[in-house]
């Protein structure tokens, strides 16, 4: 299954993913590995906990003066000869990038990994406008060739076997090789080196942007961020407004915890700080630098229930520990951002109705909040989204009826207590050997795979009188 098909109900997409044996194995191996690496990295790093608190505080403090920090960022970028653009919607952002491409006569664009550009569906728009976008992050390159969307924020091709990649390269690139990651990487290096050298336009995201200096920061392991910002003559960075950080001192705090959270590395191989077009006698570097500031639902959350989700560093740690993500993978979620934070981001970008099912794709276990480097309380916001869905009557009326009735019953103890004898009556035909193995209708969702205990012959409340007397 390649794309999350939104016409199919989420429950079906999830069940389909559960049946995909290779996906299940890949998810278990990959997420377990990432979890172990992250735990080892932080285990070795006593300052880590305090830095996480610091990082969270910096994110909150930045939001409290977001306008000032963005103003400073904009002024600094422009002072260095860069151009800043303002995209309220995904449509705006696409139009801005297309305009830049058109004005610079670009035909070929190389892209460094950017969830923001995924979010706005930039590639399709570029293609339609006659600009060929080439993903250069190996995982993104693979899924681009396969016409798929990424299934994990950090490891987009986690769901593909090396055999599948080898077949893909043979089919799409006409390059045959053994299904060996070393060989496959070499092919990708050669193919993409050509593209980097030929490209007119480099498109990236921004992990951070330092307001004090007008610097865009790109974190990669492969070097494609450096390539895309050095070789083509135009560089465009698309960045969510929440990515701004006040100073270089703040940046150092985030760098200390980002890679550790994502992959367990102390630092990613490349952290590139770029502040505008080529200067100072440089041989490389773009002639033009454009920063596209992206809203797309973020600004509304400054005072919204999802404000905390704006702290997100896009590290993927929450995906790796989520019991639901670990079972169904990224595609089943159906939107750009999967996993726990993905549900919140989807609500942010697409509105609460889009997550009427996804908000319930969680057992509220809290592992995500534990793993999050900036301690985002994801479960709290999932419950808020559920509340939103209930309040706005987006949830089905049958559900609201059931919960409303349940709530009423809980405040009427005498009627509530009638529930026990009633249940005992109703369950009789279904109880065998002290357990219930099959129930009709809705209750069958439990009994299809699990036994259910019968309601006790005497509830605790019914026994209490005796317990009182016996003391």
């Amino acid at each position: 299954m390649s794309d999350g098909d939104l016409a199919t109900p989420f429950r079906e997409r999830a069940t389909r993913a559960l049946g995909d044996r290779f996906l299940q194995e890949a998810l278990t191996i990959a997420t377990t590995k990432f979890i172990t690496l992250r735990q080892e990295a932080f285990g070795d790093y006593p300052e880590g906990e305090a830095l996480r608190d610091r990082a969270r505080a910096i994110k909150e403090a930045t939001l409290q003066h977001l306008d000032e920090h963005l103003e400073r960022l904009i002024d600094n970028v422009e002072r260095r000869g860069g151009h800043v653009h303002y995209a309220s919607t995904a449509e705006d952002a696409r139009r801005i990038v297309l305009d830049i491409a058109r004005q610079s006569g670009a035909r070929l664009a190389v892209k460094s990994k950017s969830m923001a550009t995924e979010e706005i569906h930039l590639n399709e728009a570029l293609q339609a406008a006659g600009v060929t976008p080439i993903e250069t992050d190996l995982g993104e390159y693979i899924i681009q060739l396969a016409h798929e969307r990424p299934s994990h924020i950090i490891a987009p091709a986690i769901h593909k076997t090396k055999g599948q990649v080898a077949e893909l390269f043979a089919r799409e690139l006409k390059r045959e090789t053994r299904p060996d990651p070393e060989m496959l990487t070499r092919i990708a290096r050669e193919e993409l080196r050509e593209k980097f050298l030929q490209a007119d336009l480099g498109i990236t995201g921004a992990n951070f942007a330092v307001a004090e200096t007008g610097t865009v920061v790109l974190v990669t392991n492969e070097g494609n961020g450096r390539m895309a910002t050095s070789l083509p003559r135009v560089h465009v960075a698309v960045m969510g407004v929440e990515k701004v950080v006040p100073s270089m001192t703040d940046l150092a705090v985030f760098l200390a915890i980002l890679a550790k959270s994502a992959t367990g590395q102390k630092l990613s191989v490349y952290t590139s700080l770029v502040d505008g077009p080529r200067r100072g006698g440089e041989l490389e570097g773009p002639d033009e630098f454009h920063l596209v500031l992206l809203d797309n639902g973020r600004i509304k959350q400054i005072a919204g229930t999802l404000r905390e989700a704006l702290y997100c560093l896009r590290c993927g740690a929450c995906l790796n520990v989520c019991p639901v993500y670990r079972q169904i993978g990224g595609h089943a979620y159906g939107y750009t951002y999967p996993g726990p934070i993905g549900i919140l981001l989807t609500a942010m970008l697409e509105g609460p109705a889009s997550v009427k099912d996804l908000a319930h794709a969680s057992s509220l276990c809290g592992a995500c909040a534990d793993a999050c480097p900036v301690r985002i309380d994801i479960p709290r916001m999932l419950i808020e989204l559920r509340k939103d869905v209930a309040d706005k009557r987006i949830a089905p009326w049958s559900e609201r009826l059931v919960f409303g009735a349940f709530g009423w019953l809980l405040r009427h103890p005498r009627l509530y207590r009638l529930g026990a004898p009633l249940a005992r009556l109703l369950q009789r035909p279904f109880t065998r050997g002290g357990r219930i193995q099959r129930l009709p209708l809705f209750f069958g969702s439990w009994t299809r795979t699990r036994d259910l205990p019968p309601v006790a012959a005497r509830t605790f409340q019914e026994r209490w009188a005796e317990l009182e007397r016996s003391r």
């Binding site: 910096i58 090396k162 070393e182 450096r226 191989v269 490349y270 700080l273 502040d275 005072a303």
Partner: protein, 250 residues
């Protein structure tokens, strides 16, 4: 599309609706970063050997190859042996003033083709030509503006005579440095970044600062680690004990 005023206006409108989630401040920034950095450097120079030991540990842990020589005059030999071991012939390097050592001279006549990058601004045509030279090169030699012990990271600042491509395009990268650029931690590197951006000199340097922590890598295919995806497959650090030219000891 919005204008700057519209966009920021909307942000301000939303901000006005809420005091935020909790009281918070960004990091305290150093008052006079360049002075603070001078003080830090003096302190670090007392314990450079520890910093170096830690750097070596972390650098090797991320797959770097470490070399140590006593005198700068011995550096060309190290470069020559790296190249010879890998049957590499084409070498590119920073301009000697940026590198703080002369490579082309000592390496000429040893079967190596060494191209030093120009120090001053060149024509667009020359830039094209040089790009092809660097892309064809097998080994790129640069200096290092910072060496972070905590993470085994080399930091290179771009500019005239010190292009980005030297440490990026060739399959092998070697960085030559001495004790003056050692810092202990990421936090200290934050201070360095503050200092580097403080004052008008920051306009004279290039537009890219790169932190390099080991060779280019990916684990995108079945989580199997491979090196040399887009950047170099190997990174070498050459430490000159008695300092490079023009430094605190040179």
């Amino acid at each position: 599309m919005s204008t700057r005023a519209e966009f920021l206006g909307r942000i301000r409108a939303e901000m006005a609706k809420t005091p935020g989630l909790f009281a918070a401040t960004p990091s305290a920034r150093p008052d006079r970063p360049r002075e603070r950095l001078d003080v830090l450097r003096r302190e670090l120079s007392e314990r450079w050997a520890e910093s170096l030991a830690r750097f070596v540990r972390e650098f090797e842990r991320v797959g770097g190859v470490f070399h140590r020589v006593a005198e700068v005059a011995q550096v060309p030999d190290v470069i020559a042996s790296i190249a010879a071991e890998r049957q590499m012939r084409k070498v590119v390097s920073w301009h000697p003033a940026a590198l703080r050592l002369d490579l082309a001279g000592p390496l000429s006549g040893r079967g190596l083709q060494v191209s030093a990058m120009p120090g001053a601004e060149v024509t667009a045509a020359e830039r094209e030509r040089l790009r092809a030279v660097v892309a064809a090169a097998e080994l790129g030699v640069t200096g290092a503006d910072l060496a972070i012990a905590e993470t085994g990271t080399l930091v290179v600042v771009s500019g005239g005579g010190r292009p980005r491509s030297t440490s990026l395009l060739p399959a092998c990268h070697a960085a030559v440095f001495d004790r003056d650029v050692l810092v202990e931690s990421l936090a200290q590197s934050g201070l360095v970044l503050e200092a580097w951006h403080d004052g008008p000199e920051s306009d004279a340097r290039g537009a890219a600062i790169n932190f390099i922590t080991g060779p280019s890598r990916t684990a995108d295919i079945e989580l199997t680690l491979t090196r040399g995806v887009h950047g170099p497959k190997e990174v070498h650090a050459v430490f000159v004990e008695n300092g490079l030219a023009g430094g605190s000891r040179g």
